[in-house]
Structures are given as C-alpha cells and as structure tokens.
C-alpha cells in the first residue's frame, strides 16, 4: 500500500469515468503526436531531397509545379528548355554546379530521369549490383523500383510516354538495366535513371530518325529542369532575377516554394492540432468531473483516513496522484496510439509511393505533448484535491 497503489485503486473503482478520461486524453495526445510525426518527417524528407539545390530552373509556369516536378518528381514538368541554358549557367561565376534533368517518360509509374552522373553522386548513390549507365538506353534502377518491380541487372523494358504510366509505349526503344542502387532514403529510390542522351534518343526514335551515336549533337536539344547550386549565398537575389528576366526561363527557390506549400497545408494542420488541444482540454475537464463528483461519495473515506493518521497534505497528494495516474496512463496510451497510427499512415503513404513516414521514430516535441497533458490533468485535479485537503473530519464523522 502506498499513495500510487491507493490512487490506482480509487481510479479503478470508477471504471466508466476513468475510461472516458483516458479515451479523451489518449485521442487528444494521439492526434497531436500523429501530426508531429507525419508533418515532421515529411518536412525532413522534403528538405533532404532538396538539399544542395538552391534554385530550380525550367520552363515558365507555376514555380511550385517546377519544384514538385524537378526535385520531388511528384508533378508534371512545366515544359522543356534549351540545353544551351546549362552552358550559360555553368559559365556564371555565382553558380557552383548545374545538374540538368530530362524528364517526361515513365515505367510502371516510376519516372525515367535522364541525368548525369553528378545527380547520382549528389544523392549519395551506391550500387548494390551492376554499374552506372554508360551507353544510351542503359538504365540504373532506384532501390525501391528494383524491389517493387522485382527487376534486376540484365532485364529490359520499354518506357511509356508521360508520367502516369498510361501513355503510349516507346516499344521500339527498349531500355536495358545495367545497375541497381542501394537505398538512399531520398527521391532517388523511386527513379529510373538513365543518361540524358537516352531520353533524347527515345524521342528521336519517335520521330523515325536513326541515331545510334553516343556523342550526340547538343545543339537544339532540350532538357526539362536544371538543379542549380550557388557558389555563394549572394547569388540568391541576383541570379534568380536575371533568369526570370529571360524569356522562356523560370527560376524557383525550393526553400521558398516548400515553405509556401507547408503554409498552405498548414491551415489543415493547425485545425487538427486545435482539435487535439480541444480533446486534451476535454480530458482535463473529465478528470475534474470524475474527481470532483466522487468527492461527496468519498468524504467518509477521506475523514477515516484522517482518523488513521493521514495529514491533509496526504489527502491532497492522494487526489493529485489520481490525476497524475490518469494523465500518465492516458498520455502513454495516446503516445502508443499516435505511433501506431503514424505507422499505419506510413504504410499507406508507402503504398502510394511516398515512403519515409514511420511510427518508429520519436521526436523531442512529443515530450511537450506529454507535458501539456500532465499539466492539464494536474490542473484539473487541483480543486478536488484542495477540497479533500480541507475535509473537516469531525463534522463529516459527526454526520454519520
């Protein structure tokens, strides 16, 4: 027998109210925890994918679309731009690196990306099998593509025009898998990578021309986006302004556009967070009602405890401990529930080709949620505990 076990015995003695308090608290905590986990991990994931890219240059259109297509491969590209833009930017001394990408085709829903070796190095790619593409029509599969399609080195396939996977197939230009990448936990995992020349080649074939040479003439060729890394932060203002001034070109900042994206979904997130807060407050209220309404029934118990030698402070402590027991168990159930829900959501997102959300991660902000749940429950226990502290033993016992 101690204060904790005594508190637990009282909490268990009113199962309905206890279940209600625990449920409200657990749901409130779980809601906030799921938001923390999912939003936090999505943000981290998006930052990781955009790391080292200060500017995305592409055809004019929506800057956010350019970012989504160029960095996250999650939207249709805005259009193509002349390959000459690469040389133009590379000559600029404010630019440290330019990575051109040629987009437009897909295979089984995975995008075929024409890139140079620097794009793979940028994402820290390592090979689990085979090697990098050297000749046209050779491809390297991202880890997830290889795993999901069960395809390995040596396999051949034909790409489909467009990114939905439902376009016409380039049946006359088959790709050959020459390498499979290790998991990088970046967007690379979900891409089919090939040389820029291959993408040109596929579309040349389309026109019925016969091109087999590898060193293709770059004159008049097009690419889709350029991922630009600055040599100095000073480039940010001037470079994007000068690019946007050119006809046909647009420069978009990943940092700015993703911040804008999160601001837009932020309204929904705030609403959900508010909902979680309301649930936690309702839980606090139910803790208060449970303790306060039980006081009347318990006043003899409390008086008897005083006759057995308990000080008023101990009765206060007993009620506060009951609040704490409810808060801790509710919050822990909520944490478990939140992580479980985040896992389920992560599994679903992975199925929808957006992996990277897991319930097995713990974030320091969760301690805040735990803290708020504790403070709310203890605040709710304060008044009942004070009433218990003030129990007039003699008068209570004289009445019965």
């Amino acid at each position: 027998m101690n204060l904790a076990s005594l508190s637990v015995s009282y909490v268990r003695a009113r199962p309905l109210q206890t279940v209600l308090s625990l449920l409200l608290l657990a749901l409130g905590v779980a809601t906030v925890v799921v938001l923390l986990l999912v939003i936090g991990q999505l943000e981290e994931r998006m930052q990781r994918d955009a790391r080292g890219v200060d500017l995305v240059v592409g055809a004019k259109g929506s800057p956010m679309q350019l970012i989504l297509a160029g960095i996250y491969h999650a939207d249709a590209p805005t259009g193509n731009i002349p390959f000459s833009a690469v040389g133009l930017l590379e000559k600029n001394r404010m630019v440290k690196r330019v990575m051109p990408l040629a987009l437009g085709d897909s295979w089984r829903g995975y995008r075929i990306v024409g890139a140079r070796k620097d794009y793979l190095d940028h994402h820290g790619a390592e090979f689990v099998a085979g090697k990098i593409f050297e000749k046209n029509m050779e491809v390297v599969l991202g880890a997830e593509v290889a795993a999901r399609t069960g395809t390995g080195v040596g396999a051949t396939f034909t790409g489909a025009h467009g990114i939905s996977g439902e376009g016409a197939e380039h049946a006359d230009a088959p790709f050959k898998v020459v390498g499979v990448l290790a998991k990088t936990n970046s967007v690379l995992d979900r891409l089919v990578l090939t040389s820029i020349g291959s993408v040109w080649h596929v579309h040349e074939e389309h026109k019925g021309e016969d091109h087999d040479e590898e060193d293709e003439n770059e004159e008049g060729r097009e690419v889709t986006v350029l991922l630009v890394e600055f040599a100095s932060p000073l480039a940010a203002a001037t470079l994007s302004r000068s690019i946007n001034a050119q006809s046909g070109l647009q420069a978009a900042s990943p940092a700015y556009e993703t911040a804008r994206l999160f601001r837009m979904i932020g309204v929904g997130v705030e609403a959900l967070r508010g909902f979680g807060a309301i649930l936690i407050l309702a839980a606090g209220l139910s803790v208060f009602i449970a303790l306060y309404s039980a006081l009347e029934e318990r006043r003899y118990d409390l008086a008897v405890m005083r006759t057995l030698g308990a000080s008023p402070r101990r009765l206060f402590g007993l009620l506060m401990t009951e609040g704490l027991v409810l808060a801790l168990s509710g919050a822990l159930i909520g944490l478990a529930l939140g992580h479980g829900l985040a896992s389920a959501l992560g599994a679903w997102l992975e199925h929808e080709q957006y992996p990277g959300v897991t319930g097995l991660q713990y974030r320091p902000e969760e301690l805040w949620v735990l803290g708020v749940a504790l403070v709310v429950s203890l605040a709710a226990a304060l008044l009942p505990a004070w009433r218990a502290y003030r129990t007039d033993v003699s008068q209570t016992l004289a009445k019965g």
Binding site: L6, V304, T307, L308, G309, V393, S394, L397
Partner: protein, 208 residues
Amino acid sequence: MISVRGLTHRYGAAEALRLPEWRVAQGERWLVLGASGSGKTTLLHILAGLVRPSGGEVEVFDTDILSLEGTRLDAWRGANVGIVLQALHLVKHLTVRDNLRLAQYLAHLPQDEARVADTLGALGVADKAARKPAQLSQGEQQRVAIARAVVNRPRLLLADEPTANLDDVAASAAIELLAEQAARYGATLVVATHDARVKGKFRERLEL
C-alpha cells in the same frame, strides 16, 4: 494517562461540551454516557486530536495534545489512537487486508502482513482477508473495523456508538469484543454511547 481540566467546546454560540475534570488511568475501560447532543462525540474527537477545544487542558499519555500542530498531531493520532466509528466506514473497494494495511501505511508504520493476519485472527475474521467489505455480514464488518482500529496497537482505543445499529446479542458482543481487544493490547478503552443496554458493561462511567 488521560487528564482533562476545564474543557469547554462551542460550535458558534452553542456550548457543545463542558467537562471540568476527568482522569483516566492506563488500561481502564470507560463508558461515556449521555443523550444525543451531550458532547460525547465531540469529547472523543478532542481526545483523538480531530477537534481543537474552545478552552481547557487535555493531556493524553503525558502529551499536551493541544500543543501539537498539523502533521505532528496527525502522526501522533496514527501512532497512538484507534477509532471505531458507528458507521464503520471501511474503504469499500479495498479488501479487508488492504483496509488494515491502509491503517499501517497512513500511520507511517511498516506494512506487516503477519500483524495484519494476527489481528484479523484474534477477531475471528482471518478467512475474510481477501474479501471486500460488501461481501461480509454486518457483524464481520464490525470485527474488521475493530481490527483496523487496533492493528497499529494503539494505547487509546475510542469507539463512538459502536452498538447503535445492533440487536441485543450483537450489541453485547460488540462491547465485549472491544474490551477484549483493548485488554489484548493493553489499551485504554473509551466507549461513547447512549445505548441503555450496555450501560452496565463497564465500571468506569462518565455522564455528560
């Protein structure tokens, strides 16, 4: 062992108790008699340190209990006084055993399983240790209430109207049980009652 001088207590303007002088020796058994409202319960509560009297001196075991404050008074009560209430007031969701352990815990004494078992055994309810109070008969509940009052071996055992709801046989048995338990632990026994049936039980009587 109990020494009361010039004791008065008021609730507002109404005088609830007046007791000029009363002395009780260790191990004595007393009946405090009087009609309802004569101050019997108030006297018991004063002796237990639950009520601070309006005036007078109260010494229990050579301790001026009016000089004890707050937590020290609560600790003194837990260690020295056992109280049996008319309505028993067992904690209903705790088992019989846990009701006794609660008394040990609240008095800051070690939780001694053997002593709990021994105390219940002496009152003939050892086999009810794992039951909840509601599963016991009225008589068994009273034995448990007495067990809870004596489990800490108090030097002073107080009982407030212990026979009020009992039939003649049970009332007589209850008083004898209290006397027997007080004797077993060498405690002084003070029983407040207005029950005419038990008036003759003890030699020492205080009329209020």
